[in-house]
């Protein structure tokens, strides 16, 4: 996939005989930086310590505005998850998960009186949404609804690389670019900056305006338990890894099953090929 994209991009750039056409095409976003994540490639797996740090960044930074509605607390303790522990094969019993869930107050209905109440979360509860509804979310965020992060790594080209790049991509806007109120320049965010650009029309800067201010700004913004230095870069990597896990918690299982399936099919095809050769040995074809 990556290779074919590079090939197509290469062919396309060869076809663009002069820079004229290419430069006039709307700026687009900067290509995401390539991070060497542990879960990439056919044998890659998640780094559990990184997922735990990533969850912490998510909880302390992202979760104040972004929902993650497809995840339940129990998911954190599933096999391959950030808090998986073989002592609790059923993630609902996982003590870490229970403790994490209990930190949240969940809206519920009192089973006796029917009154609206809140109670401490349990493993079975979903991650609570920080806003009551989309209107409230938009009202608190200058009109833009913070997107749900549950499948974010699959919902953007570049996946975890893109999420990381976006988080570290808040750079000072180039001179000549007018940034409106409540907007922030990010070179990895998609968009067309032509109308806000007063410089050379052939060199419109790449990137776009995003309504989210830089969420991770200072070293030590989150305190890591494992002693890892919480630099902006480290926190961005960790949370990108966590979101990649959350987007497809079964991906390690998928790759491991795949390996067995490939070996089985390869052996079976070799056997079938020799049966075919033997059967057809005396038949001209």
């Amino acid at each position: 996939m990556k290779l074919s994209k590079t090939l197509i991009a290469g062919l396309a750039s060869v076809l663009c005989l002069t820079a004229g056409g290419a430069a006039l095409a709307a700026g687009g976003a900067e290509h995401p930086r390539d991070v060497d994540f542990s879960f990439e490639g056919p044998f890659g797996t998640f780094d559990q310590a990184q997922l735990q740090r990533g969850y912490r960044v998510y909880k302390e930074v992202c979760a104040s505005c972004h929902s993650m509605e497809l995840l339940s607390f129990r998911d954190l303790g599933m096999k391959g998850g950030p808090f998986w522990d073989p002592r609790w094969p059923n993630p609902n019993d996982n003590l870490f998960v229970k403790a994490i869930a209990a930190e949240f107050e969940i809206a519920d209905i009192d089973s006796e009186s029917g009154d609206a109440i809140t109670r401490p979360g349990t493993s079975a509860d979903r991650f609570p949404n920080p806003y009551a509804n989309d209107v409230a979310a938009a009202a608190s965020n200058g009109g833009a609804v913070p997107p749900d992060l549950s499948v974010m790594a699959k919902a953007r080209h570049g996946g975890a690389d893109y999420i990381y790049s976006l988080l570290v991509g808040y750079v000072r806007p180039p001179a000549g670019l007018t940034v409106g109120a409540g907007q922030y320049y990010n070179k990895y965010f998609g968009g067309d900056l032509t109308s806000a650009w007063s410089g050379d029309p052939h060199h419109v800067p790449k990137g776009g305006f995003i309504a989210m201010p830089a969420p991770i700004t200072t070293e030590g913004q989150v305190t890591y338990d494992d002693g890892t230095r919480a630099t902006v870069d480290q926190m961005s990597r960790d949370v990108a890894a966590f979101i990649a896990w959350a987007s497809e918690p079964k991906q390690t299982e998928r790759k491991q099953t795949g390996l067995a399936v490939m070996i089985y099919l390869a052996l079976f095809s070799v056997l079938t090929f020799f049966s075919y050769k033997r059967l057809w040995k005396n038949v001209g074809h």
Partner: protein
């Protein structure tokens, strides 16, 4: 070859004799297994078996997915994700089904190109070909309907674009559009009926596949040499389907499954769009609405025509012209092995079809190449719109001009009298025919 193929089945047990007098289904199976099949079929002929397997895989995985899927605009997206996260092996079933659609189309395109190259549509096999085109149309409908079901951004906006094509039909279009959508916009009724139809059509496909096979077994299989096997040479030139072709097809199927598994397990979203992991939002249109890769050539043709209805006519025309193929091809020779001139036009046709797919993935205004800039700052050169138009012209010219004219004017190479001659030419002449 079953026109000449007499049943050789002899019921062995008392039960078989009893069945044979009442419902000769065992005889049918035995006759299919013993079907005399030309012994020179190459690997391009294995895609029929591959396609049958793909249909079965799609139906089985689809039935399981339908047990967990909720056809409701508020729940469809989340129910698909629940399959991915909470249903046992749900991720496997869904990825097999989603990538299976792509593999199905890959196989059907190869199968169709094989038919095109070897003249498989020519008399007496017109009905096999026509039923095949019907299957292809049904597959396209099923693929489109299925892609809308996860109710992501691309699902929703794809459904809007495609249903609105019907609205372009003069006079009756708007009425049909409302009828298909079940309202004045794509919404809950649309999703509900799309789910129902997506479940129905594969079984219709299965039925037409049975007819396709029936026609095949009546007219007999073609072969790369493209000559009919005379009755008296049946013994020398054919082998029983089983075990000869079950093993050969089996090997091809396994290689195909290896490719399939590479996508399912190691790159399951390569053939999808990131936008379809964003829940549908009627108020936000994706920057670039593109269909799945297997529709791109037709999508390119649709956009190549400045008039909307004209685009629809051209797009559907590109498929309907295939129905006329048996009568558009005037050549007496079936296989392009013996039609050197036509072979070149065929190769160009394949490149054009792939090129149309590439154009379909690009914005029409994007430049293929530019030679500089005009005074207004606009690039001078060729954009994808014009490239698409040129390729579309060739697509139709291939069927409507080149095929009828070349068939009358060309001088084909001498065609061998028997399929054994070329086989023994390139193979060990000492090898004796089967049996």
């Amino acid at each position: 070859m079953s026109a000449d193929h007499e049943s050789t089945y002899v019921p062995k047990s008392a039960f078989e004799r009893w069945m044979d007098a009442r419902l000769p289904i065992i005889r049918m199976g035995a006759d299919y297994a013993a079907l005399p099949t030309p012994r020179n079929l190459n690997y391009w002929w294995t895609f029929g078996g591959i396609l049958f397997l793909m249909l079965v895989i799609q139906i089985i995985t689809g039935i399981i997915l339908a047990m967990h899927y909720v056809p409701h605009v508020d729940h469809a997206f989340a129910s698909v994700e629940r399959i991915m996260r909470d249903v046992n092996y749900g991720w496997l079933v869904r990825y097999v089904h989603a990538n299976g659609a792509s593999m199905f189309f890959l196989a059907v395109y190869i199968h169709m190109l094989r038919g095109l190259y070897y003249g498989s549509y020519k008399a007496p096999r017109e009905m096999i070909w026509i039923l095949g085109v019907i299957i292809f149309l049904l597959m396209m409908a099923t693929g489109f309907l299925g892609y809308t079901l996860p109710w992501g951004q691309m699902s929703f906006h794809g459904a809007v674009v495609i249903t609105n094509l019907l609205g372009a039909i003069p006079v009756i279009g708007p009425g049909i559009l409302t009828w298909i959508q079940g309202g004045f916009a794509v919404d809950q009724p649309t999703l509900n009926r799309f789910f129902s139809l997506h479940y129905l059509l594969p079984f219709v496909i299965f039925g037409v596949v049975v007819l396709h096979l029936w026609a095949l077994h009546t007219a007999g299989q073609g072969n790369p040499v493209g000559i009919m096997i005379p009755k008296e040479r049946l013994k020398q030139d054919t082998v029983p389907f089983h075990p000869y072709y079950t093993v050969k097809d089996g090997f091809a199927i396994l290689l195909f499954l290896l490719l399939f598994a590479t996508f399912v397990f190691f790159n399951p979203n390569a053939m999808g769009h990131a936008d379809n992991y964003i829940p549908a939002n009627p108020l936000v249109t994706p920057a670039h609405i593109v269909p799945e890769w297997y529709f791109l050539p037709f999508y390119a043709m649709l956009r190549a025509i400045p008039d909307k209805f004209g685009g629809v006519v051209v797009m559907f025309g590109a498929i309907f012209v295939l129905f006329l193929l048996p009568w558009l091809d005037t050549s007496k020779v079936r296989s392009m092995r013996y039609r050197p001139a036509m072979r070149w036009f065929f190769i160009i046709f394949v490149v054009v079809a792939l090129g149309l797919g590439w154009c379909g993935a690009k914005l029409p205004d994007e430049m293929v190449f530019s030679l500089g800039e005009g005074s207004n700052g606009q690039p001078i050169g060729m954009n994808y719109l014009w490239l698409t138009r040129i390729l579309t012209f060739y697509y139709f010219a291939y069927f409507l001009i080149i095929m009828p004219l070349l068939g009358l004017r060309e001088t084909p190479l001498p065609v061998p009298d028997t399929i054994a001659a070329p086989v023994l030419d390139h193979d060990d002449a000492a090898k004796v025919p089967a049996q």
